[in-house]
């Protein structure tokens, strides 16, 4: 066991920190889940790319730095420590890209990855349907073979930032006689293709961060298939490993919130000069759970660096960070007293945290996965 960083990792951290200090926009950008905010975020994403900070762990040929997983963690820690903007490109970079690296043809990798890194193409995820949320295998959107490709028909919903993105990666049923996990195929679809209709709608926080996407005989080429016809489920599951595990939620995010929370608690003094002891206890609990997440992640990355594949323990990860995020924001709002109702960063953060146990597979589904695949309990 060695919990110290190497000289090279420390140098990487110093480089990231000084660049971020000099470049993070001040004041903070408006929400990236509104059309005006999204445009500002795109400028930031392109600035990151030009300085090779947009995809640090990717190979240099695609715009990255070939950074190790350790350095990726360090970058994330510094990124959130610096209060840098949310990543509006994250669904492409963190969810689709790992799948393209694993299942894409060389042609697909060349065509997709550099433009994704540069925020030229903006990807959203098209999995959920009105009738297929937690029960993802209940997908009914279909793809029918046509000359030179496929015609897509159906509807996707709750597509994050769908109204602002240029492309969608999604699951469609290619075998009309199939049910459940079989007969699905993973497609990469340009949203400007004829027959696509995107309708944005508001989330709980009022931002137009969601969209419905309708497909009415949308024709795509053979090259729009990622990972083989009929292989969609296993290809998609490779992406969920990323979404629930490391790549979407690095410990640095929560450590940064904890720092703000401790600061808030110190300023939320009663006449005796200290916060309510019960709330102080909740603050420390939040610090501890964030530390536990950081250490659990170091353990997981050690295993991955040693060649292990991400497994069902990523379900525990997802439950932990999503419930931690709510706890941190609830504690902050409790410290705020009746100022909690203000539509400010804490309330916005609280509203967003409430989506954590729902998206990327509800925590109920994650508990089923953990119980069945980690503990070996029988399927219902």
């Amino acid at each position: 066991m060695d919990l110290t960083w190497s000289r090279a990792d420390e140098d990487f951290r110093a480089g990231a920190r000084s660049w971020l200090e000099a470049n993070v926009p001040r004041p903070a950008l408006p929400s990236g889940d509104t059309s005006e905010g999204f445009a500002r975020h795109l400028e930031w994403e392109r600035h990151l790319f030009e300085n090779r900070w947009s995809v640090v762990s990717w190979p240099e040929e695609y715009g990255g730095r070939g950074a190790s997983l350790w350095q990726w963690l360090i970058f994330e820690e510094e990124y959130y420590r610096a209060g840098a903007p949310q990543r509006v490109t994250q669904n492409g970079i963190f969810l689709l890209a790992p799948t393209v690296f694993e299942f894409g043809t060389p042609e697909q990798q060349q065509r997709i990855l550099p433009r994704m890194a540069a925020a030229e193409d903006l990807w959203c995820q098209g999995w959920s349907e009105p009738g297929a949320g937690s029960d993802l295998a209940g997908i009914t959107s279909r793809a029918e073979p046509v000359d030179g490709g496929w015609a897509l028909t159906g509807q996707k919903i709750w597509t994050t930032r769908g109204a602002f993105c240029t492309h969608l990666f999604g699951l469609f049923r290619t075998d009309p006689d199939s049910t459940r996990h079989r007969g699905l195929t993973y497609f990469l679809v340009p949203l400007d293709a004829p027959g696509v209709t995107v309708r944005g709608f508001g989330r709980l926080d009022g931002d137009e961060g969601f969209a419905e996407v309708f497909f009415d005989g949308v024709v795509v080429a053979e090259e729009a298939v990622l990972g083989g016809v009929g292989q969609g489920w296993s290809v998609a599951m490779a992406t969920t490993g990323s979404e629930r595990g490391l790549t979407l939620r690095s410990p640095g995010r929560f450590s940064a919130v904890v720092t703000r929370l401790v600061d808030l608690a110190r300023r939320s003094a009663d006449p005796g000069g200290h916060p309510d002891p019960l709330l102080a206890d909740q603050v420390v609990r939040g610090w501890m759970e964030a530390e536990a997440y950081r250490l659990f992640t170091l353990q997981a990355v050690t295993a991955l660096a040693g060649g292990a594949r991400p497994g069902a323990e990523s379900s525990l990860n997802k439950i932990w960070w999503s419930e931690l995020d709510i706890h941190l924001h609830e504690t902050a709002l409790a410290l705020r007293g009746d100022a909690a109702e203000l539509d400010d960063a804490w309330m916005r953060g609280f509203e967003f945290s409430l989506s954590g146990p729902i998206y990327a597979g509800t925590n109920e589904i994650q508990r089923n996965i953990a119980a069945e695949r980690l503990l070996g309990l029988p399927r219902s």
Partner: protein
């Protein structure tokens, strides 16, 4: 950065685990319940010494191996797994390192490492009634008693047996008669050692309950196929598995400080993190285990209660979760 164990650490853990399975299994634990100071309960003590367990934190000059806290906590989690009814944490992970750092003033280190002498520790943190005397486990068999920051011989203490919810504890109130020898506070070592044992207890509670709910049928199916059961167990497993790395990390930090009590303040936050998470996780695992066992677990002829009661003893020992959160909160400037 490498958050894992080396081959030697894993080998020691597995060897001790195999010894405990063979020589300190359920039958021995049940014998300890009725006779905690008896020969059956203590038979494995010299075997542990032969394997070097009591000397993991002692220098080679005292017959130890100096393998350090990471190995020590791995071994203690094995002791927790089998609910070992002996003061291994008190002797090997508190008494030995305290005496090492104090320069072995009583000249007993060699006998501890060799398994010929036993140390116990009277804690007494967070008492509701400060008039209560500190209590120590294994009181009938201990040769040395750590009380406050001092060490006393058996002839320098008065013992009054008191009943613990866990009869294997062999608990007694301890009153010191003489001055004793200053050896330093057992708090950090005790909290980290207890956290390691609690991780082992928690893991055992989850795994034994998983086995039970796979086997137990109601409504024609295993009760473990019900989501209401699955979700509780997933939560229990999650909390234990997120506590474990905090224990290993605190152990690693302790090793970086060379176990020097003078510098222990620097690792206090990490120790509190480990103990708070481990106490809460083990308590959750205990509640979940009992609930998922149904009425079967609520009997004293089924063995589950032995693990539950050990958790109830060790969760508050050397500071409860709340006590350790408060200590960190004071350090953060959040409490007066």
């Amino acid at each position: 950065m490498f958050f894992g164990f080396d081959e030697d650490q894993i080998a020691v853990k597995e060897a001790v685990g195999a010894l405990l399975d063979k020589r300190a299994g359920l039958t021995v634990l049940q014998q300890a319940w009725s006779d905690p100071a008896g020969p059956a309960a203590w038979a494995v003590w010299p075997d542990l010494a032969d394997m070097g367990v009591q000397g993991l934190l002692a220098p080679e000059s005292a017959g130890g191996s100096d393998l350090g806290w990471v190995t020590m906590t791995l071994v203690l989690s094995e002791a927790g797994r089998v609910a070992l009814p002996l003061p291994l944490a008190e002797t090997a992970a508190i008494g030995v390192p305290l005496l090492v750092s104090a320069g072995d003033p009583a000249g007993v280190l060699g006998s501890l490492v060799a398994g010929r002498a036993v140390v116990t520790v009277a804690s007494g943190i967070g008492e509701a009634d400060s008039g209560e005397r500190p209590r120590a486990p294994a009181a009938s068999r201990a040769d040395w008693f750590v009380l406050g920051d001092r060490l006393y011989g058996r002839d320098d203490v008065v013992l009054r047996p008191v009943a613990s919810v866990d009869a294997t504890r062999d608990l007694a109130e301890v009153e010191a008669l003489g001055e004793g020898l200053v050896v330093g506070s057992p708090l950090e070592f005790g909290a980290l050692a207890a956290a390691a044992v609690l991780v082992g207890l928690g893991r055992a509670l989850v795994s034994t309950t998983v086995d039970y709910v796979k086997d137990r049928h109601q409504f024609g199916v295993p009760v473990g196929s019900f989501q209401a059961v699955k979700h509780q167990l997933a939560d229990a497993a999650m909390h234990v598995e997120f506590a474990a790395p905090a224990v290993w990390a605190a152990a690693w930090e302790m090793d970086q400080r060379g176990g020097d009590v003078g510098n222990i303040g620097e690792v206090a936050r990490s120790v509190s993190l480990a103990k708070a998470l481990a106490s809460d996780a083990a308590e959750r695992a205990a509640r979940t285990a009992l609930q998922c066992h149904g009425a079967m677990g609520y009997t004293d002829d089924y063995h589950l209660h032995l693990w539950l009661k050990r958790v109830w003893c060790l969760s508050p020992a050397f500071g409860s979760a709340r006590w350790h959160r408060r200590r960190v909160g004071v350090d953060m400037g959040l409490h007066g």
